[in-house]
Amino acid sequence: MEKKILVVDDSRFIFEEMKFKMKASEEYKIAYYCSDGEGLLDAYEKYRPDLVTVDIVMPGIDGIEASKRLLEKHPEARVIIVTSMVFDDTMEEAEQIGALGFLAKPFETSDMINIFDLAFKKQPLENPV
């Protein structure tokens, strides 16, 4: 069955880019978009996506804090951090809150598929935060 993905990013470009790169996929559908961290929890509860991708650099609360709030309430959520800020501190922080992987911008289609596949092989933490 097709897995539905919620994209959280202040720039709609990333949502459009993911949709374009995944248009041939029968396994993943880039289905929903949310433009800020504050809206993530509501969007998750409304759409119940199979996976959420979250940008780190956003106005208001950043992607790490937004993911932390989501995972506190929904530890079953599968979260992938999508960012150009790939360095050790951020990766450690993302792992600690229970994110299942990192996708570095800019990315190719194969990078997306690999990280999504990996996220579905891992089990979300029960109490990640």
Partner: protein, 151 residues
């Protein structure tokens, strides 16, 4: 002095690589040139150091960048969104590499787009400045790195 050279390489390498990967545009380093009616994108990373990165270019080049990213014709309303996302990714790559180089941490908020030659500070002696050309467009990139010292 060593800081300056290392950061110069990080900026220059990433400007070329990320521009090419995201837009297919090959920038060529050029001589200093004035860019009439330039637009500006600014990013400021703060933490255990401060790093300001500016990109100035003309509307033709910005339109081309946006068109390549969107893969469709763009309107003037599209330009700031594509320009800031391009710069967000470029800046993120540069700041990550500086973080790794110095084993320090700085983070930034989303870049800001200005419809003029905005500048937050005067050019310093150690400001790194790069000029590039692409077809008949020009791009200027400035980087200002400051270590934050404990008093």
């Amino acid at each position: 002095m060593q800081d300056r050279e290392e950061i110069r390489c990080i900026i220059n390498d990433n400007v070329s690589e990320i521009t090419s990967r995201m837009t297919g545009i090959t920038l060529i380093e050029s001589q200093p040139v004035e860019i009439p009616d330039a637009y500006t994108i600014h990013l400021c990373a703060k933490g255990s150091y401060q790093f300001d990165l500016y990109l100035q270019t003309d509307i033709k080049t910005l339109t081309h960048i946006a068109k390549q990213m969107k893969r469709k014709p763009v309107t003037s309303e599209d330009i700031p969104m594509y320009a800031t996302e391009f710069f967000n990714i470029l800046g993120g790559r540069i700041v990550s590499k500086i973080n790794r180089l110095y084993q320090q941490t700085a983070r930034f908020k989303p870049p800001v787009f200005f419809s003029d030659s905005f500048r937050l500070y005067d050019i310093q002696e150690d400001t790194l400045i790069f000029y590039y050309r692409y077809l008949d467009g020009n791009v200027k990139v400035e980087g200002q790195f400051s270590r934050i010292r404990a008093l």
